[in-house]
Symmetry: C2
Subunit: 234 residues, 2 copies
DNA sequence: AGAGCTAAGTGATGGAAATCACAAGGGTGG
DNA sequence: CCACCCTTGTGATTTCCATCACTTAGCTCT
């Protein structure tokens, strides 16, 4: 199911970009020494909602789906976590069970850090604690945006528009393009926008007909961000 | 509009309960020395969505409403923050503008800590950074619960039930009672559950008729938590 | 006390979207 | 290459709730 890697944090090309990975030499050494590198194949469930939290998972590369579900089977996808996220951090710090389920959307490289080691790391290296706080601040903001996206627009179309703009905005920052790779199904999009699968299908095809977006296979280009922004009412 | 107080953190009866207030002697002294105690009357807006973040506000006592709104005027109340919350912490750490508006629901005692002082505090006292991370973890969880509450139940009734159970749960922890003080208007409840004011009125009175809750003025007692839980479908 | 305001209660109605039901792609593996 | 499954596309139907439009209740202020 998974196997260890020998790669260490100092070699990681991302270690500059992510708060939790961009630590001083000694803290990074501690992190590397006290965590285990792993590779998760697509579909791996790292932890489930309600599980006790024994360790946090530093996401080095790949994408993970963070979701929760009601006992009736309704599902909510909170966000798609990318490199630099520290999964389970909030549960570890709050001393609670995991509030959500984390599942690999694509092959993911991670480092697993036991809770006790995390505590030790934060106590011994102030910057690690600051980094953890910053990482959590980002996750808080993401959760806030999700709540906002669901609550504020008055229609499913608005929520979808809002989500697309979110993604495009991030893509633009990183790669200066208005084209995103849509790796989620309509069903999953529905779970992110509190609507039904059929409505996602219909809304997207309406966006396409109206010339607001363009789709070619998995790549989706936003043609008229202003109009989408108008619709989103955020 | 507001005036300074002489009260210091060590005298604060809450300083044991809240992560950010329960710091070692020296850190608490630093915090006390570098922050200003204030008292905000009901209705004070501490900061607005989009404002630059210059300082964080440690909420000592009182309740604050954390909300966001769309330009169309639709409003979302994310949560009611109580003592121990550090308002603006996520914006300060993420180096972004405030993501939400904070408004005093009742007279609030606070300590205002400038961003630079916060950074200094976290760098010099590791436990302060850990405390900040823990505080953020709690706020993240609250935001998560909000998203969950809006997204998962399939009806407004479910969302309201979910909200009531949330509050009662917290009240039970603190005061071992199933009675809460409802200080929000139906309009505000609607903003917390993504529904309309009329629906809140109707749903609450149905809950009352069905014997699920009891209302006397501002105090609301949950009589049948199990049934509410059933309805909430969380 | 009455004016004036905000909050709460209630009925009627229209419409948007969930749900149901089924057809049509499109890829995978036997 | 056919069978099967997963995803997408689309129509028909129905239900629920937002919205509108009032009334009623409770407050504060003059």
């Amino acid at each position: 199911m998974s196997h260890c890697l020998s790669s260490t944090c100092p070699d990681c090309p991302m270690h500059q970009k992510h708060a939790f990975c961009n630590l001083p030499e000694d803290a990074r050494a501690f992190l590397a020494a006290n965590s285990v590198a792993m590779e998760y194949p697509r579909g791996t469930v790292v932890f489930r909602e309600g599980d006790r939290c024994d360790a946090v998972v530093v996401l080095c590369s790949g994408k993970m789906k963070i979701s929760a579900s009601s006992r009736e089977g309704r599902r909510m996808i909170l966000r798609i976590a990318g490199g630099g996220s520290v999964l389970g951090l909030s549960a570890a710090l709050a001393e609670k069970t995991h509030e959500a389920t984390a599942e690999a959307l694509e092959p993911c490289r991670v480092r697993v850090l036991r809770k006790r080691s995390l505590e030790e790391l934060m106590e011994q290296y102030p910057q690690a604690a600051v980094a953890a706080a910053k990482t959590l601040a980002d996750e808080y903001r993401a959760a806030f945006e999700e709540a906002r996206r669901i609550a504020l627009p008055e229609s499913p179309a608005g929520r979808l528009a809002c989500l697309l703009l979110d993604w495009v905005g991030r893509e633009r920052e990183d790669h200066r393009t208005d084209t995103i790779t849509m790796s989620l199904t309509h069903d999953e999009l529905a779970s992110m926008t509190a609507t039904s699968r059929e409505t996602v299908t219909r809304t997207l095809s309406r966006f396409r007909k109206d010339g607001l977006i363009q789709m070619r296979g998995v790549s989706l280009t936003v043609l008229q961000p202003q109009v989408l922004h108008q619709i989103s009412a955020c």
